[in-house]
Structures are given as structure tokens and as C-alpha cells.
């Protein structure tokens, strides 16, 4: 798409979309939102970038091998923090009894492993949506 207005508007709007996505992911245990909406918002920014600037430049910004590693590491963090519960003598994915620090009510760093898992899931959802979109674009 060779339109100057569309390209400049995309460049202006893109960091704000990404900041909002990261905000929704990080405050997933405090406010409405969470891993899935935040990851979808973040993925929307990269989808917009790919639509405007073309598949070649979009894939250079987030290549396939990077997004596949991001996805795998997201689910890996989830399972590792779940296995901590078994190591401490409880069941899979135990939060408070397994000794995760609960922190102060209403802070970002509180609620045990919930923010960590939300962040990992958000990154996984983001790379999943971007991979789906890039795979369908490559077919054209």
C-alpha cells in the first residue's frame, strides 16, 4: 500500500497500540483485561504494520523463527511455574500454598505467579495471532 498518509498515521499510532497492549497484559490481575485481550491488542499492531508496509518488511520486524521461539518460551514458563507447585509438595499450578510471595493488595507485583503467567500467556497469544496472519499472507 503506497499511501503517505496511511504510512505516517501507522508510524504515529503504532507505539501507542503496543504500549496499551503491554499495559493490559501487565495489569491483567488488577483491572479488566488479561493475557488474551492484551496479546490480541499487541498482535493487532504488528498486523497493522504488515498490512501497511507489506509482508517482506513485516516479517523482517518479527520473523517466523523469533515468533515460534516466543510462543514456545511462553508455554514453557507456564509449565515451569506450574511444576514449582509439585516441587514444593503440592499439586500442579498451586499458587499461594506453594510459597509464591503474595505481595500487597492492588500492586502490580502481587498475587503470586498470576502476573508472570499472564505475561507469558500474553506473549504466546501475540505470537500465535501474528504467526496465523503471516502464514495466511504468505499464501497470496
Amino acid at each position: 500500500m503506497n499511501d503517505l498518509i496511511v504510512k505516517m498515521t501507522t508510524k504515529l499510532v503504532l507505539p501507542f497500540i503496543q504500549l496499551y497492549g503491554i499495559y493490559v497484559i501487565i495489569h491483567g490481575h488488577l483491572s479488566p483485561g488479561g493475557a488474551f485481550p492484551g496479546g490480541a491488542i499487541f498482535a493487532t499492531s504488528i498486523v497493522l504494520f504488515t498490512i501497511v508496509f507489506g509482508l517482506r518488511i513485516g516479517q523482517k520486524r518479527l520473523p517466523h523463527h523469533v515468533s515460534s521461539k516466543l510462543e514456545t518460551s511462553g508455554i514453557f514458563v507456564f509449565i515451569v511455574f506450574g511444576l514449582t507447585g509439585i516441587l514444593m509438595g503440592y499439586q500442579f499450578l498451586t499458587n499461594q500454598e506453594a510459597g509464591f510471595p503474595m505481595g500487597e493488595w492492588g500492586r502490580v507485583f502481587s498475587a503470586g505467579f498470576i502476573p508472570i503467567i499472564t505475561f507469558a500467556l500474553g506473549i504466546k497469544v501475540m505470537s500465535a495471532v501474528v504467526t496465523l496472519f503471516h502464514t495466511m499472507m504468505e499464501e497470496e
Partner: protein, 100 residues
């Protein structure tokens, strides 16, 4: 003819669905059977158990985190199926040969 039959069938389905509302609990009532002891436990014990104000986040990442692991698996399976069907080769040298 087919169109009249389709409209008749869909109208009948809509009529059956709408008449089933009379058997449902009224929208917005607090004594509906969906508000049982499970959701009461989540609302009352959730802040102590998880220290998280967002109860939905507490449910999907603490109480029912194994379900969320399955959700992630569903997403992964969707990607695997799409890549398998479209058959895109992700090696640079192959891509240059095939597409250009």
C-alpha cells in the same frame, strides 16, 4: 421454493427458541441457579486465596489454570493445522526459489 422452506424452518426454530425463554429464570435475577455456591466461593474467598482484584483473572490463571493450559494448546493446534494445510516452507533459500 427452497427459500420458503428455509424461512419456514428458521422461523420454526426461532419460535421454539423464544418459547423456551418462559422456562428460563428471568434475566438479571440473583436467585437464578447459575449463582450457586461455586461462584459465591470464588467471590468471597478469591481475594484471600489469590490476592488479585480481578476475579476473572484469578479464575483463569489460578483456580482453573490447567484449563488455560489446554486453551494454549488449542491455539498451538490451530497454528499447527493452518501451517500444515497451507504448507508454507520457512527456509529462506527454498522460499526464494519457489515464490520469485
Amino acid at each position: 421454493m427452497t427459500k420458503i422452506f428455509t424461512f419456514l424452518m428458521l422461523g420454526g426454530l426461532l419460535f421454539v427458541l423464544l418459547t423456551s425463554i418462559t422456562e428460563l429464570p428471568t434475566f438479571g435475577e440473583s436467585y437464578a441457579p447459575a449463582h450457586n455456591e461455586i461462584s459465591n466461593h470464588y467471590i468471597e474467598q478469591g481475594p484471600e486465596d489469590t490476592n488479585s482484584p480481578n476475579l476473572i483473572g484469578a479464575i483463569i490463571t489460578d483456580y482453573r489454570a490447567f484449563d488455560t493450559l489446554g486453551e494454549a494448546t488449542v491455539l498451538f493446534t490451530a497454528i499447527a493445522a493452518v501451517v500444515a494445510i497451507l504448507g508454507v516452507v520457512h527456509h529462506k533459500q527454498d522460499k526464494g526459489d519457489n515464490h520469485e
